[in-house]
């Protein structure tokens, strides 16, 4: 029970679990792949942000250097404004350059040529606090200082986010003024950040609280946004650079890895399904195989024919139960045994060994089987028929021989008995024929002898009455005639002795049931019937009384009559049926009789033949002696019965004879 149910139950649970696991693993993998991709994008954007900040810093530093170069330039050769204008052309991020004194009053200023002057609407003074803050930082640090960014509305309704940078001007170790550069934050982003960064991303400056100050870059192109923020710490002012990267909605296969994983997952599932299918097919095949094996086993076990397989070295590889039963050895006692096999009679080992060597050399055995003698475990020998066929494996190679072994001892015994009984009946038949001949001969000779004897006696009688007058002649004649009589009598005695010798067994009477008589002759009758294509029908009541008879002689009568009947049904007879029947016959006063009928459907007996039917040596058969019916009549009459015949209805002849019942006075 456990063995059969547990795997089935396990299989039912295992499969969903396996599918679930695979699916969860796959989704995890896909999710992980997505995550990985997000992380990568994020880290790239972070790197970009850092790059952007670094770019800006570098640019700012260079700008500081450029401004320092402006300070130290020889203003006698070219006025400051000229130099500043040249520099403004080179630096689009600047809106305005101012030269201020130590009290932060504007000494000189130049506006960028690329746009309208930024401070025309509300005046530069609006931004004074930021400038003061920046220059404060610059003074304290003796380096560039930045002011907070401010929004400067423009004439066209828009506005600019600006940031002031202040650089102290130091002449001979004395602070002589400040150079203030006003940056446009938007222009910083445009000019100082690498174009590769802004191509697919949006760069912006925000306050630390997230208020967007300036932005640059492409418009959004997707629903997913990746944001990187990088703090930009400038002396005096701190801003946040924000990078927005827009991505499309996450694809089913966001990247190659996910696609690969998915493809592999699909392949895996496919392989799993195929495996499952293969497994199911395998199971079905296994089941079929098990069935076939069970069938084969049942077949082998039910066989009465012994089966024995030997490999190419002559070792026994297989025996079936019937073979084991036949030879009396257990299967394990036989399997693996080589020459000589345990069931070989010791005296035959040499011969069998040679035969097997011949077989192993590839000589095919006769198809009709070979006769052999095997030995049972108890030493009893018995004849067998062996039918051998080459054993071919799946590759088509011969791996040995399969032999079917039939125990024919019973068959032999039956044949022996049958032959013995046939010989006995034939011997009896010969004896009976001889006896009948002797009987006929004696009858035929006795007739003239009786006549001779009668004439002799009559002559003697006449002589004694004095028919011959001459006493001497009478004497001589009397003596001669007497001798004639004596010789006739002697001849009669010789015949009688021969006859008695042949008929010595006349008195062997025994009580036999009619059924037993029929059973004795049936094998021979059926044998002949089969040869002539005749159907044999027997009617015999089982409760018929026994008859008193000479068994072997009556069997001869039955055989003779049956054979005649069958031979009477020649080729043109439509229904060849031989009927043997036994019935109680009409009884006379002191004896009861049983009547035997032998009926055929043959050509019947012609008129001329009927008269001579019982005449000795009369026959209608080419090889017949003409003694059969004569013998039958003699035998039947010896038993006190009658043998007669009449026409059968609708055709053919019935021969019937009677025998006395046992126990009544015959």
């Amino acid at each position: 029970m456990l063995f059969s149910i547990a795997p089935r139950l396990g299989r039912r649970v295992l499969w969903p679990v396996l599918v679930l696991l695979v699916l969860s693993m796959l989704s995890t993998l896909v999710w992980l792949a997505g995550r990985y991709e997000v992380t990568q994008v994020q880290s790239r954007i972070e790197r970009d942000a850092a790059d952007a900040v670094s770019d800006i810093r570098t640019a700012l530093t260079r700008n500081v250097q450029s401004l320092q170069a402006l300070q130290y330039a020889n203003h006698s050769a070219a006025p400051w404004t000229q130099e500043a204008s040249i520099m403004l052309r080179e630096h689009r991020e600047w809106l305005r350059l101012e030269l201020r004194d130590t009290d932060l009053r504007v000494v000189n200023s130049v506006d960028t040529p690329f746009r309208a002057p930024a401070f025309t609407r509300f005046g530069r003074e609006a931004n004074q606090p930021e400038v003061v803050q920046a220059c404060g930082v610059a003074r304290r640090q003796s380096g560039p200082g930045y002011g907070a960014s401010t929004y400067v509305p423009q004439a066209n309704g828009l506005g600019l986010e600006i940031m002031d940078m202040c650089l102290p001007v130091i002449t001979d170790g004395q602070l002589t003024g400040f150079t203030v550069a006003t940056y446009s934050l938007g222009e910083i982003l445009v000019n100082m950040v690498g174009p590769q960064l802004t191509r697919s991303q949006e760069v912006s400056f925000t306050e630390s609280d997230g208020t967007r100050l300036a932005m640059h870059g492409t418009a959004r192109r997707g629903s997913r946004v990746f944001i990187a923020k990088q703090l930009m710490d400038l002396p005096g002012h701190t801003m946040v650079l924000r990078l927005d990267s827009w991505r499309g909605a996450p694809d089913l296969f966001p990247n190659v890895l996910t696609a690969l994983v998915t493809a592999m997952a699909i392949a895996l599932v496919t392989v799993l399904v195929m495996l499952a299918r293969d497994m199911r097919r395998r199971q079905r095949v296994e089941l079929d195989l098990a069935d076939a094996l069970a069938f084969r086993k049942a077949m082998e076990d039910s066989l009465v024919t012994g089966l024995r397989a030997r490999d190419s070295e002559g070792r026994i590889t297989y025996v079936n139960p019937a073979f084991c039963e036949m030879v009396g050895f257990e299967a394990q006692e036989l399997i693996g045994k080589s020459i000589p096999a345990p069931y070989w009679p010791p005296e035959m080992v040499d011969e069998y060994g040679q035969r097997q060597a011949l077989r192993l050399a590839g000589n095919a055995p006769p198809r009709e089987g070979a006769e052999s003698v095997f030995m049972r475990k108890n030493g009893e020998r018995f004849p067998v028929m062996i039918f051998e066929a080459p054993l071919i494996n799946a590759l088509g190679e011969q791996t040995g021989w399969m032999g079917a072994v039939l125990d024919v001892s019973e068959q032999r015994r039956v044949e022996e008995v049958s032959r013995a009984s046939q010989e006995r009946l034939q011997a009896t038949a010969r004896l009976a024929t001889v006896g009948e001949m002797a009987s006929l001969l004696s009858h035929e000779l006795n007739q003239p002898l009786a006549a001779i004897s009668s004439y002799a006696t009559g002559s003697m009688n006449l002589l004694q009455e004095g028919a011959v007058k001459d006493p001497h002649l009478a004497e001589t004649l009397s003596s001669a005639i007497q001798r004639i009589g004596q010789q006739a009598e002697r001849a009669g005695k010789v015949i009688k002795s021969v006859h008695d010798f042949v008929r010595r067994r006349d008195q062997a009477r025994e009580a036999v049931t009619p059924r037993a008589l029929l059973d004795d002759v049936m094998p021979l009758v059926i044998l002949q019937a089969r040869k002539l294509g005749v159907r044999v029908v027997v009617h015999c009541l089982s409760d018929l009384p026994a008859v008193l008879c000479d068994r072997t002689m009556v069997e001869q009568v039955l055989l003779n009559l049956a054979r005649n009947a069958m031979q009477a049904m020649t080729g043109d007879t439509p229904h060849k049926v031989l009927t043997l029947s036994v019935r109680p016959a009409a009884s006379s006063a002191n004896s009861r009789w049983v009547e035997f009928w032998v009926a055929d459907l043959g050509h019947g007996i012609p008129e001329g033949v009927a008269e001579k039917l019982f005449t000795p040596f009369f026959t209608t058969k080419q090889e017949g002696m003409g003694l059969g019916l004569s013998l039958c009549r003699t035998v039947v009459e010896q038993h006190g019965g009658f043998l007669s015949h009449h026409a059968n209805n609708p055709r053919g002849t019935v021969f019937s004879f009677t025998l006395p019942q046992s126990g009544t006075e015959a």
Binding site: A450, S454, T457
Partner: protein
Amino acid sequence: MQPTEDALVFIVDDDAGVREALAWLLRSRRLPSQSFESADAFAEFLNSSIAWQPSQPGCLLLDVRMPGMSGLALFEQLIERQLLDVLPVIFLTGHADVPTAVDSVKRGAFDFCEKPFSDNALVDRIEQALARSAQTLQALRTKQCLQHNLADLTERERDVMHLVVEGLPNKLIADQLDISVRTVEVHRARVFDKMNVKSAVELANLLRGE
């Protein structure tokens, strides 16, 4: 034993040689014979029996085995017709038929004789058979005579006769029949006369066979 003069021996044998030889032998002993070549022929002769008088003593020499009707079958017919006493049967047999012959003797055949036979012994048996036949015929004839005589008696004479045979004296008979003694004597004399006897003892002997 003297064979009766008008006795006749019937020979039934299919072998002409045997028939003639037997006839010749019988003639040498002065016995007339008649031969038949088959049982059928003899049966026919019996049925249309003009030549053969049932009163004539006879004997049948019968061969057992013959073509057509066998000797045994003919024998059965004779048994059926109750002729065995008038016509005793002696079977002529070969060796083979001895048991059959023994059986038939048990069933009433006079004797059987194996071929080849000791001929004079056979003739002796034939004569005995003829004597038996003659005797039987004699008895038959006597019986017939008695029947005839009895038939002649009147009612009263028969009554008187029965009482006489019982040994009653005339006086008692007269008393019993309620007639006179004289009448009894007359009847008695007439009965003796008709029955052809001399005494009451003789009459009683005669009637005992009835």
